[in-house]
Symmetry: C2
């Protein structure tokens, strides 16, 4: 297995543009660590997150608490000839810094549109604009992409070819099982009115 | 959307038995938070993790640093009639506590077998036993399932039925897009010898 640190910003961006589940770590008042899972979306040189203004941990992030954000893709199971060499193909980004709350109304509205359109491309144009009351209920955070590290594990099992145990000469299978993630058949809401077709945004997600 | 805290241990176990990517938060010496993504497997009333003895953060966890572990399943996109109500179906467990290193050789060997068989059921019996040198190179940690919280977001878009904006009466579609994750076609290692068939463990993963 090739496990290597990468400083390639394009690889980082590709990961952040594919995986939208992030895990923030914060330190609580009592010095204990806390993890906050949340949706994350890249917007240029920053990562956006949002949630209810009622969330205590989001408010702590908004106040500038030192933060660490991890975004991880599980790409494949690596099935080696021994348990020891078996592993995963993954990409894992860890970003460090402080979040800033986006409070200026136009900037906040725009950031929320970026989030919507990253999760469901084109959806923003299909739905009404957010109301002032809705905007006020949401906390939007931005973490600069400044201090980060990236690990990429790819490639094949590293079974020993010759040294005992000479696993490559043995009877065990070795290879890679790719993880495939996609969206399944859409389920209409129970209260959906008759005659409303599946929107183009959702149709595109199904074939992407 | 129904977003609720759950204290149901069976729901927690189901999540931990399905999702094997975890994110540990730890506090570094300089009081900054750090996230460590790693494979995690439930073993009864504890969660196991493992990695290289060379990993500084794993060693910090093994030394009993206060830890927080999150395991998150992204189950579906919730496509509401407004951007504001759109969200995700997810299950998210957060565990708090201190890890212990499993060092006694038989217990360590058994814990590693539990990890192997959780990721690839039945694989342990198909491969040779780990050598003493391999065992020595691995750090195995156990976090007790004692202090934890669980959030489950399920159900349908919560679009307002009557109050302005009366989105349910409007033209926008609403529903749920389930996330489907499975393994794709296995890729044999480039150095796989001829005539070695796909093992039963991998075949079972493909139809599960």
């Amino acid at each position: 297995m090739s496990r290597k640190a990468s400083s390639d910003r394009a690889t980082l961006d590709r990961l952040l543009d594919t995986i939208h589940i992030g895990h923030f770590a914060i330190v609580a008042d009592d010095a204990h660590p806390v993890v906050l899972p949340t949706a994350v979306v890249r917007d240029g040189d920053r990562v956006l997150a949002h949630g209810s203004t009622g969330s205590r941990w989001l408010r702590r992030l908004a106040a500038g608490a030192p933060a660490c954000l991890a975004v991880t893709a599980f790409d494949a199971l690596v099935v080696a000839r021994s348990a020891f060499e078996s592993s995963m193909r993954y990409r894992s980004a860890v970003l460090f810094g402080q979040c800033q709350a986006i409070t200026e109304p136009d900037a906040k509205r725009r950031a929320l549109e970026v989030i919507t359109d990253a999760l469901i491309p084109g959806r923003g144009a299909e739905v009404r604009a957010s109301t002032a009351r809705e905007l006020a209920a949401v906390l939007v955070l931005a973490l600069p992409i400044a201090e980060w590290s990236l690990k990429v594990s790819e490639g094949w099992p590293d079974d020993p070819p010759a040294d005992p145990p000479a696993d490559v000469a043995g009877p065990a299978w070795a290879g890679v099982l790719p993880v495939v993630q996609r969206y399944g058949q859409p389920l209409a809401a129970p209260d959906l009115r008759d005659g409303i077709p599946l929107p183009a945004s959702v149709q595109r997600l199904l074939i992407s």
